[in-house]
């Protein structure tokens, strides 16, 4: 929501704030968000891997993009449509298994793997969505959690022969991109500094695509209905729209994002753990999205960076980081529902008010 509330109307150019208005006009454009995402994937690794202390590493940067795609999709459901799913591990893990099995048995082409993963997630989302939306509101979280756990037990028990059960799926084989470009091949010169290797381009490319797709959805009339449902479901129904169908659509779209992310994760990790289907994964994506800030595209990205950074880099220093995280999570839900990103945008608008004075 912050994106919209902050947007000043362009064209109304006062002399004092003319520059700021033009900046806002620019920021309002869809291409601005996409350009921002592209600039981000170029600059972020340079900063992230060169921090003065506790610096990150390239593989973690890629992992952040993958989880960020998952989180952006999750926020389309939670932040924009107001539906809280506690079973999103199904789409992440289910598509990861589909990707792994496809790569082992059919083709190792990365783009095809991601496609198969996405389609799997869409099918799963349709089935679970139809079941979970049978009961209104509060039951949605319970039912998605339950059917999420069902998939975990199915992978562990009846399908254990294919999935590898508790050991996870290990037969992942990833071929070069488009048959020629080995994922580990680095670029030379300036390109090497900016884009590293083919694998990085793949993961970063999908991240930029996900941001572009999410911005498009949010700004479309269809996305406006999602947001209207979150604000007041009854009114949308009175307008003659089929709320149930839009909710299912939001759930499936969100599942598709998780599917892309799950497929990419299989390519990245070359392995699928059964834990990817467990409720803790669903809980993680809830925490990431809420901590980062729901109802915006960059909130979930912020949350992903913070979560994965702490989990992978700082966790050795703070023994009880999960405990701290839980306390932080409750604090955010209780006092700062807009999350970290909301705090950032809050500071930004305070600064603006100070700059512009009272006439703004």
């Amino acid at each position: 929501m912050s994106e919209q509330t902050e947007a000043a109307t362009p064209g109304e150019s006062a002399d004092a704030s003319g520059l700021l208005d033009r900046w806002d006009g620019l920021r309002e454009r869809e291409s601005f968000s996409i350009a921002g995402a592209i600039a981000f994937v170029v600059v972020f690794p340079m900063i992230f891997t060169n921090l003065p202390a506790y610096n990150g590493y390239m593989s973690l940067v890629e992992l952040i993009y993958i989880w960020a795609i998952f989180a952006i999709g999750f926020d389309l459901l939670l932040g924009y449509t107001g539906l809280l799913s506690f079973g999103h591990a199904v789409f992440w893990g289910g598509s990861a298994y589909a990707a792994g099995l496809f790569s082992a048995n059919v083709s190792g082409e990365p783009l095809l793997i991601v496609l198969v993963a996405m389609v799997t997630a869409i099918v799963l989302a349709l089935i679970i969505g139809i079941l979970s939306l049978r009961r209104g509101g509060i039951y949605f979280a319970i039912l998605t959690l339950a059917f999420g756990q069902m998939m975990y037990f199915i992978a562990l028990g009846p399908l254990g022969g294919i999935t590898g059960g508790e050991d996870g799926f290990t037969g992942v084989t990833v071929d070069p991109l488009l048959g020629a470009l080995e994922l580990g091949t680095g670029f030379a010169g300036v390109l090497g500094t900016l884009l590293h290797d083919i694998g990085y381009v793949l993961f970063a490319g999908f991240f930029v695509l996900a941001v572009a797709a999410a911005v498009r959805i949010v700004r479309s009339p269809y996305g406006a209905i999602f947001q209207a449902i979150a604000e007041n479901e009854q009114r949308v129904r009175f307008l003659g729209l089929n709320v149930w169908r839009y909710k299912l659509a939001a759930f499936v779209i969100s599942g598709a994002f998780a599917g892309v992310a799950g497929g990419l994760h299989t390519i990245h990790a070359q392995y699928v753990a059964v834990g990817s289907l467990f409720w803790i994964t669903s809980g993680d994506i809830v925490i990431i999205t809420v901590l980062g800030g729901i109802g915006s595209i960059f909130g979930p990205v912020t949350g992903t960076i913070a979560f994965l950074y702490v989990e992978n880099i700082v966790s050795g220093e703070i023994a009880f980081w999960l405990l701290v995280l839980g306390a932080l999570f409750v604090t955010v839900v209780w006092l700062f529902p807009a999350g970290i990103w909301g705090i950032v945008t809050g500071i930004r608008s305070t600064v603006r008010e100070q700059l512009l004075g009272d006439d703004s």
Partner: protein, 311 residues
């Protein structure tokens, strides 16, 4: 074994498994019915029952990192199982009152998603506190000596006395809560609140006190379930959610807001689970979800659930 014997054996196993789910589900069902409040932190009451119960009945080994760094050793009252069963519901009743007053009540007027998120966060904190102090590894909650061994029921066969004990304890607790809700003023307010919360408020009934009490009663039952379930399920921090999910399914299958619904739902879930464990063990954990899916498709409000006002 005779046909009658195997039927009775199946029923006893079903009742034993169902018991724990029913005890956890009743609290969930009532808060869902009256307050439309989804309480993930209910699982924290179960965890409190297991871990504090273990400390009261036998001994709790503090081997988490924090406990070790401050030199906390083993703490145990060694009072035995029955003492734990008597004390835990009182403790968790109190914890339930605190939770209603300080966590649930501030969130009644906030969106459903916020309620779910905050209770999930609190469950997470409790779970991680246990991991930090007691440790993440599995502990042993031994059965009391008097419940070891088997009891012969004449021609019906011989059964583990532990199972019969679980069934007996649960029956007493559930019956007591049932009578409480059917025949007292608090219960009346709760039942009215389940049917139509708005109307109860409009009629000028201050339902705050009944809701507070019933929140505590539900928590007390979940604590008791922890004591009973400790020796049955594994004793690890994650077991809270492991029990919470089937209990949610009990509410979905049985219908919300009534004790009878929870009992019926619990028995069905238990029967499916035990039936599959006996005949198709690989599917044993999956069947209960399939049952819930079928109920949702055929009777979305649950088997005993009335059509709710403003769901």
């Amino acid at each position: 074994m005779s046909v009658v014997g195997s039927v009775v054996g199946f029923m006893i196993q079903t009742l034993a498994v169902s018991s724990i789910y029913i005890l956890v589900a009743i609290g969930l069902s009532i808060t869902l019915g009256t307050l439309k409040f989804v309480n993930f932190a209910h699982a924290a009451m179960y965890l409190a029952g297991v871990y504090i119960g273990l400390g009261i009945a036998l001994e709790l080994q503090f081997s988490g990192d924090i406990a070790r760094s401050i030199g906390l050793g083993n703490v145990g009252l060694d009072l035995g199982f029955l003492a734990a069963l008597a004390i835990i519901p009182i403790i968790t009743f109190g914890l339930g009152l605190l939770m209603e007053r300080f966590v649930a009540r501030p969130f009644y007027d906030r969106p459903d998603t916020d309620q779910i998120l905050v209770t999930f966060g609190i469950l997470l904190i409790v779970q991680e506190l246990i991991r930090a102090f007691v440790g993440g590894r599995s502990l042993t909650f031994s059965r009391p000596a008097w419940a070891e061994g088997a009891i012969s029921l004449g021609p019906l066969g011989t059964y583990a006395s532990w199972r019969l004990a679980i069934i007996g304890i649960t029956s007493v607790l559930v019956l007591a809560v049932y009578l409480y809700i059917e025949y007292t003023d608090v219960g009346l307010a709760v039942r009215a609140g389940t049917e139509d919360t708005e109307m109860v408020n409009l009629l000028g009934v201050r339902a705050t006190r009944p809701f507070l009490v019933i929140f505590g009663v539900g928590s007390g039952l979940a604590g008791a379930a922890g004591v009973v379930g400790g020796p049955v399920f594994s004793v690890v921090p994650e077991v809270g959610v492991g029990v919470l999910v089937p209990a949610f399914l009990v509410v979905v299958v049985g219908g919300v807001g009534s004790i009878v619904g929870s009992v019926v739902g619990g028995l069905l879930i238990g029967a499916v689970e035990v039936g599959l464990v006996m005949n198709a063990p690989t599917w044993s954990s999956v069947g209960i979800y399939a049952l819930a899916a079928v109920v949702l498709l055929v009777r979305p409000a649950g088997l005993m659930g009335a059509v709710e006002v403003d769901e």
